[in-house]
């Protein structure tokens, strides 16, 4: 009898231990959310068209582990990006920083736009000088008025 009671108690206890709310997949949701935000901005070096957040490459998993560690240490986003840039170069950033070597990359499209505008304006000016506005003769005016009246 005593054995049965003990067994029942054990079963009850184990039941309460098992029936828990489902744990979230990640240990710490706040860390995981920040990890995704940061990793979306970083390139996976193995599959170069994938972000660090989306890649399933081994290295991406390791790097996510490192970034997770840095987040837990309370590093800022900039410090975490600097950590990766110091090892893998600016290539890991999807948004390259503005500096002397990337100046052309950032300013190039605008320079091209300005050049295009300048060419367009010069072309239009030259053309307006060449094409004389057609004058209407008196007869043409009368014909036009007659047609408009109808």
């Amino acid at each position: 009898m005593r054995f049965l009671a003990l067994l029942a108690a054990a079963l009850l206890l184990s039941g309460s231990a098992l029936a828990r709310e489902a744990a979230p997949l990640a240990d710490d949701e706040v860390v995981e959310k920040r990890l995704v935000v940061i990793a979306e901005e970083l390139r996976c070096l193995v599959c170069q068209n994938e972000s660090l957040a989306g890649s399933r490459a081994d290295l991406a998993e390791d790097l996510r582990r490192e970034v997770r560690g840095l987040i837990k240490q309370g590093k800022t986003d900039q410090e975490i990006k600097d950590f990766l840039v110091s090892r893998y170069g600016d290539f890991v950033l999807y948004r390259p920083p503005v500096k002397s070597t990337t100046w052309l990359l950032w300013a190039g499209p605008f320079v091209l736009l300005l050049v295009g505008l300048a060419v367009l304006i010069a072309y239009l000016r030259r053309r307006s000088g060449q094409v004389a506005p057609a004058e209407l003769s008196e007869d043409d005016k009368k014909r036009a008025e007659a047609l408009l009246k109808d």
Binding site: L45, V46, Q48, D58, D62, L63, R87, Y88, G89, D90
Partner: protein, 174 residues
């Protein structure tokens, strides 16, 4: 005739850009570590877990730090070159067995030969991350002061060895 010169000129410039751009290998990402001190670490050796290895043990020597793994297919292509040149030219090569199992690494060396002075054992890949390793094999040329002078990405071919690595090593030995 004159009106065709400008478009033709632009076309040739574009062709030049494409020729350079398309002949570059996007897998070769220049390392920001070249010219900087080799990152410090201390990990167990592959051959003897009781002993550790740290890059500062190599100060005063010009050496190659070669990242390899038994699971790495292109390392098989590179390995005979390392074995050959380590023996014939007496170059110092330290290995880093990257994210490998100890038994697999040892078996691999027993099977294909061991060109390394020793191999450090990087189980979790942290040393690799500190060196900016993103694809095995990769090789770093480190000078007497412990500065990384050159990084070779991908398997070392005999041509790369003769034309790039050996001349640089000879230069640094002086």
């Amino acid at each position: 005739m004159n009106r065709f010169l400008l478009p033709l000129g632009l076309f040739i410039v574009l062709l030049g850009f494409l020729a350079v751009g398309l002949n570059r290998d996007p897998r070769e990402v220049p390392s920001p570590l070249v010219g900087k001190p080799a990152p410090a670490f201390e990990v167990a050796q592959l051959g003897d877990p009781a002993k550790t290895f740290s890059p500062k043990d190599m100060l005063g020597k010009v050496w190659l730090f070669n990242v390899w793994a038994s699971w790495c297919v292109s390392c098989r292509q590179e390995h005979p070159v390392l074995v050959d040149y380590a023996k014939s030219h007496g170059i110092t090569v330290v290995g880093l067995d990257y994210k490998d199992q100890r038994m697999d690494g040892l078996r691999w060396l027993a099977q294909f030969g061991d060109p390394y002075l020793l191999s450090a054992f990087d189980l979790d890949g942290r040393v690799g991350i500190n060196y900016g390793v993103y694809g095995v094999p990769e090789t770093y040329l480190i000078d007497k002061a412990g500065i990384i002078q050159y990084k070779h990405i991908g398997p070392i071919t005999p041509e790369a060895m003769v034309q790039k690595i050996l001349p640089k090593m000879k230069e640094l030995e002086k």
